[in-house]
C-alpha cells in the first residue's frame, strides 16, 4: 500500500496512488490523512532526512495515530525548500519482510526527485489561480468604469455669469466617486459630489442608485437637507452592509448667487473670495448608515470673482513618494492661489501630480468640481456644454514594437464609439507613430521609462494624450517629406512619422511640463469616414 500525499498551505492531503495493485488482498489505498502545520509529526519529517519507520515511533500526534491506524508502516517525506510538500505513505511490504536499507535509500532518492517537481507544479497552479483572479478583477473594473462613465455628466452647465468646470479621473481599481449637475426650476442649479465607500462594481452600482435617488428627490424638494434626508431614508434598506455614501448637495440660485447646501459627511467645499478662503461647513451623517437623520442646511452668497471648489478624498488623501498626505490645509492653500490663466481645475490637478510624483499609481478616484461666479449680472440662461470622460489610461515600456500594444488598447476603447472604420484606422496609425516617437525620441528607448497614454472623449472629439519623459527636447515641425529626393537616394528614406501623425488626425497639440512631454491627438467624432 502506498500513498502520495500532496501538501497545501495548512495540511497534507493525499493524491495519486503510486503502486499498482499486485495482489488484491495485500494492496490498496487510503483516504487523505492531513498533517496539520505545527504537528510534531511535521517537525519530525522535516528533520528526518529520509523515510521514517512508524513501528516504534511515539509522538503526541493525532495525525500519527490516524496514519498508524490506517496500516502505514513507513512515511517518505517530500521536502522542498524546507517545506513539507507531501508524503508517501507505505504499508507493509508484500513479502511481509521489513523495509531494507536499500528500499529506504531507493524511496529517499525517489522522494528527492519528486519533491522539486511537486513544488514546480504547485507554483504553476498557484500562478494560474492568481492569473485567473487578476483577469476577473480586471473585468470587474472595466464594468465598474463603464457604469461610472455612463452616469457621470456628459455636459457641463453653461450659465451666463458663471463658469462651471469638473474633473474626474478614476483610479485603476475604480472607486465610487461621482458628481452631478441637476437643472432645477427658476434657473437654479443643483450640484452634487459624492463618494461611495468600497470600489469596483458594488460601489458603481450604489453610486448609480444614489444618483437616481438624488435626481428624483431634487425635483421634489427645494431644500438640500430634505433631499439628503429623503435619499438617506430610501438608501438605508437598499445599501449593502458596511457601505455608505458621503455626499454634498448644493443648490445655486444663479440669479442671486445664493448657495444653499447640506453635507452628508463629505469633504467640505472651499470658497475663495476677496477675503481669502473659507470652508462651507454643514454637518450630517453619511447616507445609508441609519434612517431618520437630519442634515444641517447652510447658506453662502457668492459674489463676482468667488470660486467654490468641491473635491473628493482622492485628492486630500493622496500621498507623496515620502508618504506625506496631501491634506486639507495644502488643498486650502492651493485654492487660495489664483491661477494666472484662471484654470483652477488644471492648477489643482497639476499641483496634485507634482506632489504625488510623476507616474505614481493613483490611490483613489479623483473628482473636482469648480463653480466660479464670473459676474453678478442677473440671468438664468442655464444650458449644458461638453465635459470629457477618461476612457482609459495605461503605460507601455519604452521598447521598440510596444506602440502596437498602445494601438490595440486605444482601439479597444475607441471602437465602441463608432468613429467609422476610416477614422478609427487613421487614429490608430497616429497613436502608433506618436507612441513610437515617445519611445524612441522622448525616452531614448530606455525600457525603464514609461510612455503614458490617456484616452478621453467628449460628445464631439476623442483625445489621445501620449506623454514621455523628454520634456526638454525640441520637437521638429512636421514637414512634407520629399519623396522624389528619398527615392533618388538624395535623402534618408526615413522621416515619415510626424508627417503621418499630422495627416491622420484632425488636430495635434504638443506641450511640455516638468520634464514630461505630451502630444495630444484630437479626432472629431463626426466627419467623413
Amino acid at each position: 500500500m502506498a500513498q502520495l500525499m500532496k501538501r497545501r498551505k495548512t495540511e497534507v492531503t493525499p493524491s495519486v496512488p503510486s503502486t499498482p495493485p499486485v495482489a488484491e488482498s495485500k494492496t490498496g489505498t487510503i483516504d487523505a490523512i492531513p498533517i496539520p502545520t505545527g504537528d510534531p509529526l511535521e517537525t519530525l519529517l522535516l528533520s528526518s532526512g529520509g523515510p521514517v519507520e512508524l513501528q516504534d515511533l511515539d509522538l503526541e500526534s493525532e495525525a500519527l495515530d490516524t496514519i498508524k491506524s490506517a496500516g502505514v508502516d513507513l512515511i517518505v517525506p517530500l521536502i522542498g525548500q524546507g517545506e513539507l510538500l507531501g508524503a508517501l505513505y507505505l504499508g507493509p511490504r508484500l513479502s511481509d519482510q521489513p523495509y531494507s536499507t536499500d528500499d529506504r535509500r531507493l524511496l529517499g532518492s525517489l522522494a528527492s526527485q519528486v519533491a522539486p517537481a511537486m513544488k514546480v507544479a504547485q507554483l504553476v497552479r498557484e500562478q494560474q489561480v492568481e492569473a485567473k483572479e487578476r483577469e476577473r478583477i480586471q473585468q470587474e473594473m472595466q464594468v465598474a468604469a463603464l457604469i461610472q462613465q455612463t452616469l457621470l455628466p456628459k455636459h457641463l452647465p453653461s450659465i451666463q455669469g458663471w463658469h462651471v468646470d469638473a474633473f474626474y479621473r478614476p483610479a485603476r481599481a475604480v472607486g465610487g466617486d461621482f458628481y452631478d449637475f441637476i437643472s432645477l426650476d427658476d434657473g437654479r442649479l443643483g450640484v452634487v459630489i459624492g463618494d461611495v465607500t468600497d470600489k469596483g462594481v458594488p460601489a458603481a452600482l450604489v453610486m448609480a442608485t444614489c444618483r437616481s435617488m438624488l435626481r428624483s428627490a431634487a425635483q421634489r424638494h427645494t431644500s438640500p437637507s430634505k433631499v439628503l434626508a429623503e435619499v438617506n431614508d430610501t438608501l438605508v434598506p437598499e445599501i449593502p452592509p458596511a457601505m455608505f455614501v458621503t455626499c454634498l448637495y448644493a443648490i445655486i440660485d444663479t440669479e442671486l448667487g445664493e448657495v444653499v447646501f447640506a453635507n452628508a459627511g463629505h469633504n467640505l467645499p472651499y470658497v475663495r473670495s476677496g477675503d481669502g478662503v473659507i470652508e462651507l461647513r454643514a454637518t450630517g451623517m453619511p447616507l445609508g448608515l441609519m434612517p431618520g437623520m437630519d442634515y444641517d442646511e447652510k447658506r453662502y452668497e457668492m459674489t463676482a470673482g468667488d470660486v467654490m471648489v468641491l473635491t473628493s478624498d482622492g485628492i486630500t488623501e493622496a500621498h507623496s513618494p515620502e508618504g506625506e498626505m496631501y491634506g486639507f490645509s495644502r488643498l486650502m492653500s492651493r485654492v487660495a492661489r489664483k491661477p494666472s490663466d484662471g484654470d483652477v481645475v488644471a492648477a489643482l490637478v497639476t499641483d496634485l501630480e507634482t506632489f504625488t510624483g510623476k507616474g505614481a499609481e493613483q490611490e483613489d478616484d479623483i473628482t473636482l468640481v469648480v463653480v466660479k461666479r464670473t459676474s453678478s449680472a442677473k440671468t438664468s440662461a442655464l444650458t449644458f456644454e461638453e465635459s470629457s470622460q477618461v476612457l482609459t489610461r495605461f503605460t507601455v515600456a519604452s521598447e521598440e514594437g510596444n506602440e502596437r500594444i498602445a494601438i490595440e488598447k486605444v482601439s479597444d476603447v475607441v471602437t465602441p464609439l463608432d468613429l467609422g472604420t476610416g477614422r478609427l484606422e487613421r487614429l490608430k496609425t497616429a497613436v502608433g507613430e506618436t507612441v513610437m516617437n515617445a519611445i524612441e525620441h522622448g525616452n531614448d528607448n530606455r525600457p525603464e521609462l514609461d510612455v503614458d497614454v490617456e484616452v478621453s472623449v467628449t460628445n464631439h472629439v476623442v483625445i489621445v494624450r501620449v506623454t514621455d519623459q523628454g520634456g526638454d527636447r525640441v520637437i521638429p515641425q512636421a514637414e512634407t517629406p520629399d519623396i522624389e529626393a528619398k527615392i533618388a537616394g538624395e535623402q534618408t528614406p526615413r522621416g515619415w512619422g510626424l508627417f503621418l501623425i499630422e495627416q491622420m488626425v484632425d488636430e495635434v497639440r504638443s506641450m511640455s511640463n516638468n520634464g514630461a512631454h505630451t502630444v495630444e491627438l484630437v479626432m472629431n467624432r463626426e466627419g467623413v469616414s
Binding site: 502596437r404 519623396i483 527615392i487
Partner: protein, 113 residues
C-alpha cells in the same frame, strides 16, 4: 529586434510577386530587400502583395521607399495589391502611390500585366 515579417517570391507569367506577411517596419528591411532582389532577378515586372500584411508603420514606409529607390535605379516597374483601404490612403498621402501602380486586387494586377 526579431522580425515579424515574412517575404516569399513566386514566379508568374509576367514577372514575379513578392508575397509579404506580418509587420512591415524597420525589421522588415533585410527580408524585403532580399526578396525584391530575388524577384528582380527574374524577367518582367515585380508585384508586391500586401494581402498578408497587417501593420505598416513609418519605419516600414521607409523600407518600402528604399525598395522603390532600388527599383527606380534599375528602371523596373513596381506594382502592388492587397492593401487595405487604410493603407491605400496612407500610400496616397505619402505619395508612395506615385511611384508604384496600386491595383485593387491580384486579378486586376495580373490583368494589367
Amino acid at each position: 529586434m526579431e522580425s515579424e515579417f515574412g517575404a516569399t517570391v513566386s514566379r508568374t507569367e509576367e514577372g514575379a510577386v513578392v508575397v509579404m506577411t506580418g509587420v512591415v517596419n524597420r525589421g522588415a528591411k533585410e527580408a524585403l530587400e532580399s526578396a525584391y532582389e530575388e524577384a528582380a532577378s527574374l524577367p518582367g515586372r515585380v508585384l508586391l502583395d500586401f494581402g498578408g500584411v497587417d501593420y505598416i508603420n513609418s519605419t516600414g514606409i521607409a523600407v518600402i521607399v528604399g525598395v522603390l529607390a532600388i527599383a527606380r535605379a534599375e528602371g523596373r516597374d513596381i506594382g502592388a495589391y492587397g492593401l487595405t483601404d487604410h493603407y491605400r490612403e496612407v500610400f496616397n498621402i505619402t505619395r508612395l502611390a506615385d511611384f508604384m501602380t496600386i491595383y485593387d486586387d491580384e486579378s486586376a494586377a495580373v490583368a494589367a500585366g
